[in-house]
């Protein structure tokens, strides 16, 4: 069993929900990310999702776009992100880590080389926003060769037949995109999310995590009640962005991020199992 699947299973036994914070690797600097990852775990994160900086992050709203630009300016590239995962693993061998990014940096490195290097540093999964099931065969073969999970998106616009085909190729968990739009958009409808999760469950026993549009403990609790986990991205990156704008240093950024993640942890843990 993969580390990601194992974590969801453990949480299910405990009657708890997975909290998956997302940060952009290398934002605001190459040295920021590993300490931030440890701080997020200490604040209650179950799985860490690292955004791979890309010049053209087409699915991101303005907040995460800015973080990609900061990380690129700091010099963060895919190989640096893999190095960060390796450094994180020196002190934490338990917390699953997955990368979320766009096709081209992975394609450019080569699927086989990426899989080899990623598994060597202890990465557990990959989510490429712009590689749908129709295009994934080559990448999936390499990820499965090294035992890594490929995380797929299901959207509000995904019809039942596609959900079935996605479920057949996915492993680890399925990431439900809670709204039509880019990351950080503001029109989350918990009732609508619940209906879609029920539909997805007709086709898969995989855990379902929900992302896009979850901002705080309250929205995490409302969505988490029907899901197996929540991803918190833009709200966390925005907190870092605002702290930076206010002139915050390294410790203050860790504190702000930890506080937000801890509050969402509390929100999720208040869901009666």
């Amino acid at each position: 069993m993969s580390k990601i699947a194992g974590r969801f299973e453990l949480l299910a036994r405990q009657g708890r929900k997975a909290l998956v914070p997302y940060i952009v690797a290398g934002d605001p600097g190459l040295d920021s990310t590993v300490p931030l990852m440890h701080a997020l775990v200490a604040a209650g994160a179950d799985i860490i999702e690292l955004g791979v900086p890309f010049s053209d992050p087409m699915s991101e709203g303005p907040v995460i776009q800015k973080a990609h630009e900061r990380a690129l300016a700091a010099g963060a590239r895919l190989r640096d992100v893999l190095t960060m995962v390796g450094t994180f693993r020196e002190r934490d061998t338990e917390t699953p880590v997955l990368l979320m990014g766009y096709a081209n940096p992975v394609e450019h490195m080569g699927y086989a080389r990426f899989a080899d290097e990623a598994v060597a540093v202890g990465l557990d999964g990959l989510l490429t926003v712009d590689i749908p099931p129709e295009e994934v065969a080559g990448l999936n073969a390499e990820l499965h060769r090294v035992g890594m999970d490929n995380i797929f998106l299901v959207a509000p616009t995904t019809p039942a037949a596609r959900i079935q085909s996605i479920a057949g190729q996915a492993s680890g968990f399925i990431y439900y995109v809670a709204l039509k739009g880019v990351t950080g958009a503001g029109h989350l409808d918990a009732e609508d999310v619940a209906q879609h999760l029920a539909l997805i469950r007709e086709f898969t026993a995989l855990p379902l995590a929900v992302g896009f549009g979850i901002k705080d403990a309250d929205s995490a609790r409302r969505v988490g009640a029907k899901a197996d986990g929540v991803v918190i991205g833009s709200a966390l990156v925005d907190a870092i962005d605002k702290a930076l704008a206010a002139g915050a240093g390294h410790d203050e950024i860790l504190r702000v991020a930890s506080e937000l993640v801890a509050s969402i942890r509390a929100g999720l843990d208040s869901i009666a199992s």
Binding site: D56, Y102, E134, L153
Partner: protein, 406 residues
């Protein structure tokens, strides 16, 4: 990686998965996949529907003003020497460029899908103007995304779009040019996918766009082929067109792909010179990768990040290219070459002064190469250049470069 391809197959792609060899495909977020499937199904149905074709032909004849003339540029041919040069006058279309051939077609698709809102990306502004124009005619809400840098250098087209009732959204992310405008259009589309039709302006993007934009632009080559036979009694020896995303080039080339005697040259923007790195020539100096929904040649660094591009012409200032061009390069059917900013500017002035035809700066790249090519051919040989757009929009840019205060 040149492969032996049966010439009858040149025009047979894309395959059922939307691929041209290894290029093309559908690399977009899951939210858009069902919309692409819906668009493809509708297009395949309408493409074979005589009523839709009649509607399209009527618009092309009476609204766009087709067919466009095939004009022999005798004075300019004499000046450059060698072959006879003919200009396919897409600049005479309504709105002044080839772009409208495609927007008329896609707007009909939008109408058939019941979408009330259209969006577009634009570089030079020609596609934005063509989209705003057809949106005005059909009463559709129109948002055009345009890089802030292009808003500045194409201010006349920005104002044209506003006069037509469109909202022009300046894009301030990344390099603030065409690629960033396309990112922002994709973000809008994923947000408003239920009521919005994305009118992509070039033969790039996810399948089925490279196919349907090509099909709508092929009217250029079909007409040129018939006009060449009627006016010269033979097929041309060579075709020349500029390539940014590549829609005017594919429109001219495609109907000739199986005519083996016809050589084809796609002219990329060499900017300050390919050796300087400041250019927009992915087919000449790039490598295959994935951007904006398709696999194609890209200008990218050693980490797969997309590089900033440079061209004097906003419409060619793009780090990617349509996937069919990538395939035509690999199979060796089309030669891709570059022309630098200064050569294009010289051709702009030359054609204006010798023929009274002011070309767009994009088009001037094709003209500059055609001039060089003509000099190597005999007076019995003919070249067709796609005069893809008129240059009115560029006069402020040209004046600035020439140090003239207009």
């Amino acid at each position: 990686m040149t492969t032996d391809i049966n010439p009858t197959q040149f025009a047979s792609l894309p395959d059922a998965d939307g691929r041209f060899g290894i290029y093309g495909g559908k690399f977009v977020a899951e939210t858009l996949m069902s919309s692409l499937a819906e668009l493809e199904a509708l297009y395949r149905k309408l493409a074979g529907d005589p009523e839709f074709q009649r509607e399209l032909d009527e618009d092309l004849a009476h609204y766009v003003g087709r067919p466009s003339p095939l004009y022999e540029a005798r004075r300019w041919s004499d000046r450059v020497g060698g072959a006879r040069i003919f200009l396919k006058r897409e600049d005479l279309n309504h709105t002044g460029a080839h772009k409208v051939n495609n927007t008329v077609g896609q707007a009909l698709l939008a109408k058939h899908m019941g979408k009330r809102r259209v969006i577009a990306e634009t570089g030079a502004g020609q596609h934005g103007v063509a989209t705003a124009t057809i949106a005005a005619r059909l009463g559709l809400e129109c948002h055009v995304f345009m890089g802030e840098e292009d808003v500045r250098r194409q201010s006349l087209n920005v104002y044209r779009m506003k006069l037509l009732g469109a909202t022009v959204v300046p894009v301030t992310s990344g390099s603030r040019t065409l690629k960033d405008a396309m990112n922002e259009a994709m973000r809008d589309w994923v947000t408003n996918v239920d009521d919005t039709f994305y009118i992509i302006g070039t033969v790039a993007g996810p399948h089925p766009y490279p196919m349907l934009v090509r099909d709508f632009q092929c009217v250029i080559g079909r007409e040129a082929r018939a006009q060449s036979l009627a006016q010269t009694g033979r097929l041309p020896d060579a075709l020349v067109a500029c390539v940014g995303g590549g829609s005017n080039a594919i429109g001219l080339f495609h109907p000739f792909l199986e005519d083996q005697s016809v050589a084809m040259y796609g002219v990329e923007a060499g900017g300050h010179g390919v050796a300087t790195g400041e250019h927009a020539a992915p087919l000449t100096a790039g490598t295959p990768g994935i951007l904006h929904g398709n696999r194609t040649y890209l200008m990218q660094d050693e980490d797969g990040q997309i590089m900033h591009t440079h061209s004097v012409s906003a419409g060619l200032d793009y780090p990617g290219v349509g996937p069919e061009h990538s395939w035509l390069k690999d199979v060796g059917r089309v030669s891709y070459v570059t022309i630098n900013d200064d050569e294009a500017l010289a051709a702009f002035h030359d054609l204006t002064r010798t023929e009274g035809i002011m070309p767009a700066l994009e088009t001037a790249h094709a003209l500059a190469y055609a001039g060089k090519l003509a000099a190597t051919l005999s007076p019995q040989q003919t070249i067709i250049v796609n005069l893809s757009g008129r240059g009115d929009k560029d006069i402020l840019t040209v004046a600035e470069i020439d140090g003239i205060d207009v």
